[in-house]
Structures are given as C-alpha cells and as structure tokens.
C-alpha cells in the first residue's frame, strides 16, 4: 500500500507536537530558575505566570493532542492496512487545531491568558484563548470521528475478526477523549466564553471546577494510552519476543476508558462545593484505575521476560540482562515503567482521601504529574518517534547512539527534577508560586532542592534538544541510495486471538456503561448547582 499521504499527515502532526514540546522545555527551565530566586534579574511574576501557563498548555494540550492524532492516523492505516478515511477531513482537523493553537498562543505569550493550563474560573483569560482552546479540541474531535469510522468500516468488512490491538487501543482513546473533553467544552462554552465576552458578570466557580474535574483526570489517560499502546504492540516485538496476552491488553484499555472517567473528584478533595460522600466515591474509583495499570505492568514485563529468556536469559531475573538495552523502544519501556512505579506511588498518595491534605496544592503535585506525564508518557512518545521516524521520512535514523543517550539523560534529568519537587511538597512548599519574598528557616530549607531542580531541568533541556536534533537530521539527511524498506512491525501474541467475544472487540457496551457511571458520579454533583442557593452567583452566571 502506498501510504505517502498518511505519512505526510502523521509527520505534520508530529512536528507540530514536537515544536510545541521544545519551546515548552525552554520555558520549564526558565521557570525553575525564576522560582529559585538565584538570578534576581529574572524575577517577574507576570512573565513567570505567562510562561507557566504557556508551558502547561503546550505540553498538556498541544504536544499531546497533535502527537496522539498523528500517531493515531499512522497506527490506523498500518494496522488496518487501509488508507485514512477522508484525508481531506483529516487535514481540516489538523488546520483547525493548528489555528486554535496559534489563536491561544497569542494571549498566552502576551500575558493575557496567565490562567495556567487548568484555567480555573473565575481567573479570566482573553477570549481568544478560550476560542483557541475550543478550536484545538474541535480539530481533535474530527480525529476521533475518523478513528471511529475506520474502526466500524473495518469491522463491517471483516465480520467476527478481532480488530488489530493497535487500532482497538487507538479507538478506545478516541472514545475516551470524546467523553473526557465534554466537561471542559461545556465549561468553556457556557461559562468561560460568556464571561470573557462580558455577556455575564459572575460565574459559579464551583460548577466550573466540577466540570473541569470531569476532564482533568481522564485527560491523563488520553495522554498515557499511546504509551500503553506502544508497550503492548511494539515493545514485545522489538525485544525479540511475543505479547503475553492480547485479551489482557484489551481488558486493560477497556477498564482504563471506563474507570478513568467517573473519578475526577480526587482533584476536588479540598474543595467546598462537593459533599464528602461524592469525593469518597470518586476516591474509591481512583483506586480501581490502578488495576489496568497493574495489568499493563504485568503483561509488559511478562512479555519482556519471555523475550529475555528467548534471548538466552536464565534464572529468576537473569532475563533482564539479556534484553536488547540498545533498542530505543525497549530501553524507553523499561525507563518508562520505572518512572510509572514512582509516579504511580505518588498518585496513590494523592488519591488517599486523608493524606491528600498533606500534599494538596503543594510542590508534590507538579512533581507527581511531571513524573507521570513528562516521564512515563513522554519518554514513550520519544520511543514511538524514534521507531516511526525512519518509516515516515523513508530514511534511517540519524543516530541510534544519540537516541539512547537522549533517553538515559531524560530519565536521569527527570529523577533529579522530580525527586526534590516531591520533597519540597512534603516540606510545605506551595505549588504555583513564582518566588518566595520572605526568608524563614522553612523557606531556606527549600533552597538546596530548588538548586537540584535547576540542574535536573538543564539535563532535560539538553536531552530535549538532542531529541529534536536527531529527528531533524534524520529528515534532512540525503536520501539513501538504496530503497528504504523498513516496515512497521506489530507484536504477535503468544496465543494469537482467532475470535473474541464482542465485549472485547467493540465499545457499544462500554459506552453505555460509561454513560451510566457518569450519570451516577456527576449527575447530582452537577445538577445541585441549579437547585441550591449559591450566594448570588446563579448556576450559569446569568
């Protein structure tokens, strides 16, 4: 199949993602420097919060959304072996999202949208920011639609056949994103935009936070699912083995999609607008979501164990040394899993209803989500890019050694950045502060950790530059004299699935389950705003 059109589509998305990423990396290093107070000339809360907001939006919305779309298109076309359905529509989604990104970037960079990436109301941004964010999401909905159509068309053309795992995971993510983004879309359309346009004078901040909580947790799984997809469909093959269980993988994606949605209130444990019973319910659901992560950890490690033993590894742990550590996909998976263990532990502390009070709104929280997102997730984005880039540009990777150095430095830098961040949280440093303008024994105790974070950030910045350099050199290098023949290889299961029950091969049932769970977990908590006196700030602010 000539997939030139799909390669161009995927490559365009991935470049936007990685340009956003490298810009955000420079901002991140500036932020740790500014916050430390080491260079007085940098002190500026105005610039700091504009930078933090831009950094968060670029990393959390632009890098992720464009990467997931680009990776999704290429996964769909290569796993189903069909062209992307409606290429024109796919490109329109790309341009709409890009237009939204540019529209949001202007107020962000000019200090008119310093509302952080959560843009909690009543903090208000310029209306262009909200319109830009909306367009970015609308563009991604087009991607979701295309993935769902391709999934359905393939199923119709191949009745009773198991949908390839890579496409099953991609479609799970598309459906998850449609559900996930509904909360923030309602908040932006009915609260943030009317407020920014001056159509209303007040908003109910509690309702806004509840709607954002709808989005805030499952969005993490939207980011994470491409990493899990690579764990299941690329890593076993690259390690020289087989996927331990195809069914377990599908089950993990289903549970992730279903249970990551109705649990967002663990972000609101300290908020007054929701009752403690609802928070406890969401808290319990949060622990349920750890199950698919444990299943994923087990299945991926078991796949690696099989590969290691097939490569001659003996004994209980001897297979670890036999793995191909010089393969960037395998190395990334191992480093990613290590960061997932540490980040997952931090997440369990966050989700613990009582202990959350200890770390809530402290530096622990950005430490945690950098480890999970920038660590576990983004290192797998690197791995996917290193794997796909040669096929996308039809040239061999510029330097595998550079890729390995880049992955190790990213892992080391992330450890040096996030460990002190967690400690600072336990020492009581609030998150979202630009500087400390007073000196006490407490704040002086923070200094060594902040210095370590600057060093960690520098390593990460260097690593990010290496990543971009390697990709750019790969693309800009002269074309090889011989035809480039490398093809994408998906892992086979030890026991290949011939047929599957419909609940492991489709999402109709799971969409209904999600609808019921969302109604239970968010129905009354949202409706209450329309029935109770909110002290002069009616539901939608009208």
């Amino acid at each position: 199949m000539n997939d030139a059109a799909e390669r161009k589509l995927a490559l365009s998305h991935l470049w936007v993602a990685f340009i956003a990423f490298i810009v955000a990396c420079f901002m991140g290093e500036y932020q740790v420097l500014e916050r430390s107070g080491l260079i007085p000339a940098l002190d500026s809360p105005t610039v700091y919060f504009a930078s933090v907001s831009t950094h968060g939006v670029l990393m959390g919305f632009v890098l992720t959304t464009f990467f997931i779309m680009g990776f999704g298109y290429y996964t769909a076309t290569t796993s189903l072996k069909v062209p992307v359905w409606n290429n024109t529509l796919a490109w329109s989604g790309f341009w709409i999202s890009l237009l939204g990104t540019v529209m949001a970037a202007i107020p962000l960079l000019t200090g008119n949208a310093s509302v952080l990436y959560t843009f909690y109301l009543p903090i208000q941004a310029h209306v262009a920011f909200y319109f830009g964010a909306t367009l970015l999401i609308v563009g991604s909905w087009i991607w979701c639609g295309i993935m769902v159509v391709m999934f359905k068309q393939w199923k119709q053309a191949n009745p009773k056949q198991p949908v390839p795992l890579a496409m099953f995971a991609t479609t799970a993510n598309a459906l998850l994103w449609l559900w996930t983004s509904a909360g923030v879309a309602v908040e932006v359309l009915f609260q943030a935009i009317p407020l920014a346009l001056g159509w209303i004078d007040t908003v109910d901040a509690g309702l806004a936070r509840t709607l954002f909580a709808w989005t805030l947790h499952p969005i993490v799984y939207f980011w994470l699912i491409p990493a899990y997809t690579a764990f299941y469909v690329f890593v076993p093959k690259q390690a020289g083995g087989f996927l331990f269980s195809d069914e377990a993988a599908r089950g993990a994606f289903i549970v992730l999609a279903v249970f990551s949605l109705p649990i967002g209130f663990h972000h609101l444990y300290m908020d007054p607008e929701q009752a403690k019973g609802w928070k406890l319910l969401h808290g319990i659901g949060t622990f349920v979501v750890s199950i698919p992560t444990l299943v994923t950890g087990f299945t991926v490690i078991a796949s690696l164990e099989i590969a290691g033993r097939l490569r001659g590894g003996k004994g209980l742990f001897g297979w670890i040394g036999s793995l191909p550590w010089s393969n960037s996909m395998v190395l990334s998976a191992i480093l990613s899993l290590l960061m997932l263990i540490l980040g997952g532990f931090g997440g369990i502390i966050n989700a613990s209803y009582a202990m959350n009070a200890m770390i809530h709104n402290t530096a622990w929280v950005p430490g945690h989500f950098h480890l999970i997102f920038a660590g576990t997730t983004v290192i797998m984005y690197f791995a996917i890019a290193y794997y796909l880039w040669p096929m996308l540009v039809q040239k061999p990777l510029f330097s595998n050694s550079m890729a390995l150095i880049q992955l190790w430095t990213w892992f080391i830098g992330m450890g040096i950045l996030t460990t002190p961040w967690h400690v600072l949280g336990l020492l009581g440093q609030p998150r979202r502060i630009s500087s400390v303008v007073y000196n006490t024994l407490l704040t002086l105790a923070w200094k060594p950790y902040e210095l370590a974070m600057i060093f960690g950030g520098l390593i990460l910045l260097g690593s990010a530059c290496l990543f971009i350099y390697n990709l750019a050199k790969t693309q800009l290098n002269p074309a090889p004299t011989e035809a480039f023949t490398q093809q994408i290889e998906y892992a086979e299961s030890i026991h290949p699935v011939k047929e599957l029950p419909e609940y492991l091969n489709d999402f109709k049932l799971w969409n209904r389950v999600i609808a019921v769970l969302m109604l239970i977990s968010f129905g009354v908590p949202i409706l209450q705003f329309f029935f109770m006196n909110t002290f002069g700030s009616p539901g939608w602010g009208y």
């Binding site: 020289g240 950890g297 097939l310 263990i341 532990f345 200890m358």
Partner: protein, 50 residues
C-alpha cells in the same frame, strides 16, 4: 543473542513468567510499605489539620 533449541523455545513460551510475578510482588510490596511509612511516619505525626 544465544541460539536456543525449538524444545527450549516452546518450554519458554508455555512457562509462567515467574520473574515477573516476583518483580510485581516486590513493586506492590514496596508501594504498601511506602504508603504505610508516609501515613504513620509523616502524616499522622503532623497532627490534626488546623
């Protein structure tokens, strides 16, 4: 990469991933110990929230 016989290959593919079970047990155990340490060693000694 060592060459292995077809019999050995089949045995590996059909065997239980004992190393994975051991690693997962160690990870989950460490998490439980870490959680208990933070709860009883850090959180509770800080006293009530005021």
């Amino acid at each position: 990469m060592n060459k292995i016989s077809e019999e050995e290959r089949q045995r590996i593919l059909e065997s239980s991933p004992v190393g994975t079970f051991a690693l997962m047990a160690a990870v989950v155990g460490s998490m439980v110990i870490g959680w208990l340490f933070l709860y009883f060693g850090v959180f509770i000694p800080r006293g009530i929230i005021n």
